[in-house]
């Protein structure tokens, strides 16, 4: 286990990079997924169609393929940038499809009468959603959303494999392949790094779940 202690700064940098990927991924897929979820229940048919297609494409494609498209496909059509952002983009595209479905299930958990009352008062679709439906949907969205976010944190390892560099996964690769350190302790360190993010994340979600449940 000396290898972990000796390389603690490297691991810490890896943790930080992974956290950055996850933070951007979290915000991006939450915003995009919520918009897509609203699309899926919208009265406008083309918007529903966009939402449904999005979910069907990105939920059903392996993340690796989505990342390949972002990392190698986007430069071919003239979009250039750092691999970091390609990686984050791929992660957001993929995760937003799952967030969308979590949000949609939450919206469907709110009784139809609430939406009818909102419309009957004269609120438009966006107002009904943001003042009446979403605040009530949140409490049933949090648990499935938590699973989606934890899966996303773990999926960030695949983003690392695409050469973003410097994240937890890349640290493992560097130590074991390039420097020839024994894989078992190196990977244990990597796994611990992910647990450092996911376990407090899970606890935070549990707290949030209780909080939105009481707020009613």
């Amino acid at each position: 286990m000396d290898v972990i202690i000796d390389n603690l700064p490297l691991y810490a940098d890896g943790l930080l990079t992974t956290l950055q990927i996850c933070a951007y991924g979290f915000v991006g897929s939450l915003v995009l997924g919520t918009i897509l979820g609203a699309f899926r229940v919208s009265p406008v048919a083309p918007l529903r169609w966009v939402g449904t297609s999005w979910v069907n494409v990105f939920r059903n494609c392996p993340l690796t393929i989505v990342l390949f498209f972002c990392a190698f496909g986007l430069p071919e059509v003239g979009i250039n940038g750092q691999y970091f952002w390609f990686g984050v983009t791929g992660l957001v595209l993929y995760t937003s499809a799952f967030v969308c479905e979590a949000v949609r299930s939450g919206i469907n958990s709110v009784s139809a009468g609430q939406a009818e009352a909102a419309r009957a008062v004269g609120l438009n679709f966006g107002q009904s959603l943001s003042y009446v439906i979403m605040p009530q949907a949140v409490r049933s969205v949090v648990p499935p959303l938590g699973s989606v976010i934890i899966a996303m944190i773990k999926n960030s390892a695949i983003v690392g494999a695409f050469g973003v560099g410097g994240d937890l996964f890349a640290v493992g690769q560097q130590l074991s392949s390039a420097q020839g350190k024994a894989a078992l302790p190196v990977l244990t360190g990597v796994a611990l790094g992910y647990l450092v993010i996911t376990i407090p994340g899970g606890l935070l979600l549990g707290w949030l779940e209780r909080k939105v449940a009481i707020a009613r």
Partner: protein, 251 residues
């Protein structure tokens, strides 16, 4: 009176048809509700009376025909429809108060977000209305903390806060415990006395006799009778109305 002929009826339905799949729930419905009139819609379960009520603010889209509110045809989805709904108050069987908001917030949401009233204006109006329906002391509570009768009165206050031209009541007392029916009916009666135009779908025969100017009797998706309450209750013309009244008034 000349003003009555000049002003269009508040609600006008022409040749309205509505299907749920193969089921023909509204069959060639024609009727009008003039301004200031209280019209009670009676009929057995499944006769289409709730669907008719919900079609007027397009919570149920119709398949053919035309519905006009205050002389204007119902718009399709979008801004114009939202604006129309703001002018048409609706009270539901299940109250449908916003569960995550206090009673006061339920009443102020529409005025602030749709009418763009200031928070202070909306609050003053809301407290006036809650006072009027007798639940001002419940303003800070959540809907689940109120009795059914109180919730329904709050829902009436919420609808009135939009200063509607007409009020629709879709079986407002059907989900209430018997001892709470009267308090809601009293609120509705006082509203009728003040000249509000109302369309009320109900099973409350007492309210129909006392407060209605007109009774529409529906059966199997058709308007079978359209007359004044006295004639309807004492001298129904159709077999279906006689049958209906026989079942209701004997127990």
């Amino acid at each position: 009176m000349s003003t009555e002929t000049a002003a269009p009826p508040m609600i006008k339905a022409t040749a309205v048809n509505k299907y749920f799949g193969d089921l023909h729930v509204l069959k060639d419905i024609d009727f009008e509700v003039p301004r200031g009139q209280v019209v009670v819609v009676l009929g057995p379960s499944g006769s289409g009376k709730s669907t008719l009520c919900r079609a007027i603010n397009r919570l149920e889209p119709i398949n053919s025909g035309q519905i006009e509110v205050d002389g204007k045809p119902l718009p399709a989805e979008g801004k114009a429809l939202a604006a129309l709904r703001a002018d048409v108050g609706m009270v539901f069987q299940q109250f449908n108060l916003f569960a995550h908001k206090t009673i006061l917030e339920n009443v102020t949401l529409g005025p602030t977000k749709v009418r763009r009233a200031s928070a202070a204006e909306a609050r003053t109006l809301a407290m006036e209305l809650l006072e009027r329906v007798g639940i001002a002391n419940q303003a800070e509570k959540y809907p689940a903390q109120l009795s059914g009768g109180q919730q329904q009165r709050a829902a009436i206050a919420r609808a009135l806060a939009m200063k509607p031209k007409v009020m629709l009541f879709d079986e407002p007392t059907s989900a209430l415990d018997p001892e709470m029916v009267q308090e809601v009916l009293d609120t509705m009666t006082s509203l009728a006395d003040e000249g509000m135009t109302m369309l009320v779908v109900t099973h409350e025969m007492g309210f129909a006799r006392r407060a209605a100017h007109r009774v529409i009797f529906m059966s199997d998706g058709e308007i079978v009778e359209d007359t004044n309450p006295n004639d309807f209750f004492t001298d129904p013309k159709s077999e279906r109305a006689k049958d209906f009244l026989g079942k209701i008034l004997t127990h």
